[in-house]
């Protein structure tokens, strides 16, 4: 019953979507402009706190401590990059293909006195992966970014290569709920779900595919967390913010508010039925 075909999107849309001016995102995201799921643990009041808890969760999952070397692939507006450097004293390399994001993160790092702890590379991961030193990182994060990468299996293998022995990787991603749902949608490429659940071009997969790639690369899996309900609440907060800031969004671009709200509603319709949001952790060890 559930189907709707739309033309297949192209990879360039990832950059277009994420390379909009920071103002657009500031009007619906949290103060750190983290464009992925928060963590609504008990006692959390609102989006800002939920995102801070999530950043702490990611750093905890990665056992990130003082001078720990973190590679943040798909760093976006730098929420994790800056948090890890500021709150955990980590040394962070962030990678984003969007020039505006790279400039923004560099500027924020300088403002926060973190310039010596933060380096930002503006490139697609597959353009720079080979230049990264083998064993050069203690921890690696891909927060809602791998869905946009062209060769996901190769990226997981590169993650293994650049981690030191015993190093940890954290990946969170929106996924098809299972292979059956993937097959159903594969027969109708470019469905609303594939497009709208992931904000910009991307290829939605069941989490089992990622698990297999991690295994094949040599990782030991250490954890899988279901964040779907947290993402639903996050997106509901983004929706409320967009509606509250309608005047400012419309001043930037007429019609933007309704387009964003439609995006958010489309995403939130699918959780549990067709889509899930998982965090997966793994270690470079036998």
């Amino acid at each position: 019953m559930v189907s709707a075909a739309r033309p297949s999107p192209v990879p360039a849309e990832t950059n277009q979507h994420y390379d909009q001016p920071p103002d657009v995102f500031a009007h619906f995201l949290d103060a750190r402009m983290k464009y992925s799921s928060g963590l609504y643990e008990d006692g959390v009041r609102g989006l800002d706190e939920a995102q801070e808890r999530k950043l702490a969760f990611i750093c905890d999952q990665l056992h990130l401590g003082r001078d720990g070397r973190l590679l943040d692939i798909g760093c976006g507006w730098g929420s994790l990059t800056l948090y890890a450097a500021a709150e955990r004293g980590a040394r962070v390399v962030g990678i984003t293909p969007a020039p505006r994001q790279a400039d923004y993160v560099r500027t924020r790092a300088a403002e926060l006195g973190l310039a010596e702890r933060v380096e930002v590379i503006c490139a697609q991961i597959d353009e720079v992966a080979a230049d990264l030193p083998a064993g050069g990182f203690d921890a690696l994060a891909m927060v809602g970014s791998i869905v946009h990468f062209r060769d996901k299996a190769a990226t997981v293998r590169e993650a293994y290569r650049v981690l030191r022995k015993g190093g940890l990787v954290y990946l969170s991603e929106s996924c098809f709920r299972n292979a059956a749902r993937e097959r159903a949608f594969a027969e109708r490429p470019g469905t609303l779900f594939v497009r709208d659940t992931i904000f910009g071009w991307g290829e939605l997969l069941p989490v089992s595919r990622y698990v297999a790639w991690f295994e094949d690369a040599g990782f030991s899996l250490t954890g899988l967390t279901d964040l779907s309900d947290h993402y639903a609440r996050t997106i509901e907060d983004w929706r409320s913010n967009a509606l509250r800031n309608r005047a400012q969004l419309e001043a930037l671009e007429p019609g933007l508010t309704d387009r964003l709200v439609r995006y958010f509603e489309a995403s939130n319709a699918g959780w549990g039925y067709t889509t899930k949001h998982y965090a997966l952790t793994a270690a470079k060890r036998r």
């Binding site: 019953m1 559930v2 709707a4 609303l192 319709a269 039925y273």
Partner: protein, 86 residues
């Protein structure tokens, strides 16, 4: 809670009207949801979600993804409610 299929059908139709914004269109239990104007997968999922919440049940995937008519969905809801009560 006991429900009849007719009652559920009426609720599903009302929900479809609301979600698809079709206040005046004739919709019967035999209407094929995929043929309704303005229909999209996300809207149909929103209909399913509202109906599941109203009756406190979760439908099986084959009902959600393979049903065509309102009557089929209502029948599945009615039997899920009956199974829970029984």
């Amino acid at each position: 809670m006991e429900v009849t299929q007719t009652e559920v059908e009426a609720f599903v139709i009302a929900t479809v009207r609301e979600v698809l914004d079709l206040p005046d269109r004739e919709i019967t239990p035999e209407s094929d949801l995929r043929d309704l104007p303005g229909v999209e997968s996300i809207k149909l999922l929103r209909v399913i979600s509202k109906v599941e919440k109203r009756y406190g049940v979760e439908l099986d995937d084959d009902v959600i993804f393979d049903s065509s008519t309102i009557a089929q969905i209502a029948a599945a809801i009615e039997s899920a409610v009956a199974a829970r009560a029984g």
